[in-house]
């Protein structure tokens, strides 16, 4: 049982990490979700003992399941839910602004923007200004 659960967690986290490295942002979101589910499963099985449901009245002399991990998992699930909704809406905004969800295209645009800014800077250099003045003098 322990091995099976460990394997399930490993597959969830492994495939989540794989998807996280993909170019498509939707796949990245699915990767984040799988990772979080792996973590949630991990919490469930980090419980201290297994047994009957921890609800009063308790059956005498029987093992009671650890209720704390269940409470923690519930909290973690709620947080995952909120965060993935947020992430999806963020990606929707990216799609509206860039009309693409491909990270390579996004990175290309970033580079282009940086280069444009750098050429702006070099245009403002004092030497360049002098060159522009000289050219203007010639034109006159």
């Amino acid at each position: 049982m322990t091995l099976l659960i460990a394997l399930a967690i490993a597959i969830l986290i492994g495939s989540g990490s794989y998807l996280l490295l993909k170019h498509d942002l939707i796949q990245v979101v699915v990767g984040v979700l799988l990772l979080s589910h792996g973590a949630n499963l991990f919490i469930m099985f980090a419980g201290l003992q297994k047994g009957a449901a921890p609800i009063y009245p308790l059956a005498p002399n029987s093992a009671i399941a650890d209720p704390l991990v269940q409470a923690m998992t519930l909290t973690a699930i709620v947080i995952t839910f909120g965060v993935s909704a947020l992430l999806l809406s963020l990606i929707y905004r990216v799609y509206i602004a860039h009309a693409t969800l491909d990270t390579v295209t996004l990175a290309d645009e970033e580079e282009r923007q940086e280069r444009a800014e750098e050429s702006d800077e070099s245009a403002d250099d004092p030497e360049d200004d002098a060159a522009i003045l000289v050219e203007e003098g010639r034109a006159l």
Binding site: L20, L25, V28, V32, L35, S36, G38, A39, F42, I43, A46, L48, L68, V69, M72, T75, A76, I79, G82, V83, L86, L87, L90, I91, R93, V94, A97, H98, L106, E109, E110, Q113, E117, E118, E121, D124, D125, P126, D129
Partner: protein
């Protein structure tokens, strides 16, 4: 008393979330709520420093069952600094124009998360407040909602979500081996637990906190985000949010897992040195002032790592002092670097001097504390190497700070022609004066950091 700052930020955030933050009056209301919360934290801090730690168990549960909130000198020092940074960055944004309706509410939620995180005594609650702070910062990263900010926000969110998952796994592993979530009880039970499982849990937590701090192998997201987001948001991130990493290292590493920290101190020292050298060299080669400060942030956190690795009263108090002063420096640099004009230039220069550790600025005292720490390290060769690295880092920071200062402010026409908002310049100048005042009169900061360090050393109140 203990819940007052939390309640002020939380309720204030909920109320402002329903209002339109772009309106001036709502903006001022946000500043007032932040100031009240800061005042409440300061009162709490005075109580803690005079009468000792304050502790309450939520919901009147018996001790050991309910979730504890605990304020000690370390938590109070961090929450005061973080709240102050948020207040300054918020006022800076308010002095210009708030562009999004959620900005005031999100700042307050970020303050809630950070205050809660610094004042909790429960490991899982630490994670929950961590997420409260992170979720607000994911939305804040997109503030401005231009293409650049949106790209930065996606990177920031995805990387930090991965960090959060690792953090959660680490916390739950600690629960599994100790059977409790109360930080003090975990610390008490850790010595009787086998070392290997706790080392694995510690590694998860260290990686998660390392992502938050932006130390060398986990820094890859940081430059793109810090240069992409708005200046005031960058100040909040590097001034307040990054403190989570330093606090976690101190509270969880030094306070709860001292044995594991001692085992892994060589790793911490190597990563710290790598951060300092990498951050310094990258900064020297950058042109944009925001990029210079972003890479400088990577270099500066390396010092925290080294100070925590050496440990002891000297190391911990140096790490705390350095974190607080570094937060103020980074806030000053990000905000001043966003402005143009002579006075902003003066403020930027003072911030630069403080990062380099020149006397008369606050930074001098943090560098002094670090040099002292590097000289108490074990073994002569290590001491020489560490002292050398601290000095090298200082020289590099002097170099890149003045390159960037010269490039931005000496060629007056080379800077971007941004209109100068006088109120913003006043805020930046006040922060610079603050740096100078505590550079000349560092006694309160030194005393605070020593008091805070004592809370991490067992056997002292």
């Amino acid at each position: 008393m203990l819940v007052a700052p939390l309640a002020v930020f939380w309720i204030g955030g909920l109320l402002l979330a329903m209002a339109d933050g772009r309106r001036r009056d709502i903006g001022y209301l946000g500043a007032v709520i932040l100031t009240i919360g800061f005042g409440a934290t300061a009162f709490l801090g005075r109580d803690v420093l005079t009468y000792g730690p304050v502790e309450i168990v939520a919901g009147s549960w018996p001790t050991g069952v309910g979730i504890t909130l605990r304020a000690d000198a370390l938590g109070v020092a961090f929450s005061l600094t973080a709240t102050a940074v948020l207040l300054v960055a918020y006022c800076y944004e308010l002095a210009g124009r708030i562009e999004s309706r959620t900005f005031p509410a999100l700042t307050l939620f970020l303050a809630t998360g950070l205050t809660g995180l610094f004042l909790t005594g429960d490991a899982f609650n630490f994670y929950v407040f961590f997420e409260v702070a992170m979720v607000s910062s994911y939305i804040l990263a997109a503030y401005g909602e231009e293409r650049r900010q949106l790209r930065a926000a996606v990177i920031f969110t995805v990387v930090n979500l991965l960090g959060s998952v690792l953090f959660l796994i680490g916390i739950v592993s600690l629960y599994h081996v100790t059977g409790t979530l109360d930080m003090a009880t975990i610390a008490a039970r850790i010595p009787i637990v086998e070392e290997n499982p706790t080392l694995i849990a510690g590694t998860f937590l260290f990686v998660a906190l390392g992502v938050k701090l932006g130390i060398f192998p986990f820094h890859f997201w940081l430059p793109a985000v810090y240069t992409g987001v708005h200046a005031s948001v960058a100040a909040m991130f590097s001034g307040a949010l990054a403190m989570i990493g330093a606090y976690g290292l101190l509270r969880i590493g030094a306070g709860m897992l001292p044995r594991e920290l001692a085992v892994s101190s060589p790793v911490l020292i190597v990563l710290g040195i790598a951060s300092i050298v990498y951050g310094g060299l990258q900064s020297v080669s950058r042109h944009d002032p925001a990029a210079v400060v972003a890479y400088s942030a990577i270099g500066q956190v390396g010092y925290i790592l080294i100070a925590v690795a050496i440990g002891g009263g000297v190391g911990y108090s140096a790490a705390i002092l350095f974190t607080i002063i570094n937060s103020v420096n980074k806030t000053l640099l990000f905000l001043a670097g966003d402005q143009s004009g002579r006075y902003a230039g003066i403020a930027y220069a003072i911030g630069g001097l403080s990062v380099a550790g020149i006397p008369l600025t606050m930074g001098f005292w943090s560098k002094t504390a670090l040099l002292r720490t590097s000289m108490v390290g074990e073994g002569f060769p290590l001491r020489v190497v560490l002292t050398g690295v601290v000095v090298l880092g200082g020289v590099l920071s002097l170099l890149y700070m003045f390159q960037s200062y010269g490039r931005t402010y000496w060629h007056a026409n080379a800077g971007p022609a941004v209109r100068i908002a006088p109120t913003r310049t006043v805020i930046v100048l006040m922060l610079a004066i603050f740096t100078l005042v505590f550079g000349i009169w560092p006694e309160p900061l030194l005393a605070l950091s020593q008091r805070a360090a004592l809370t991490l050393i067992p056997g002292t109140p």
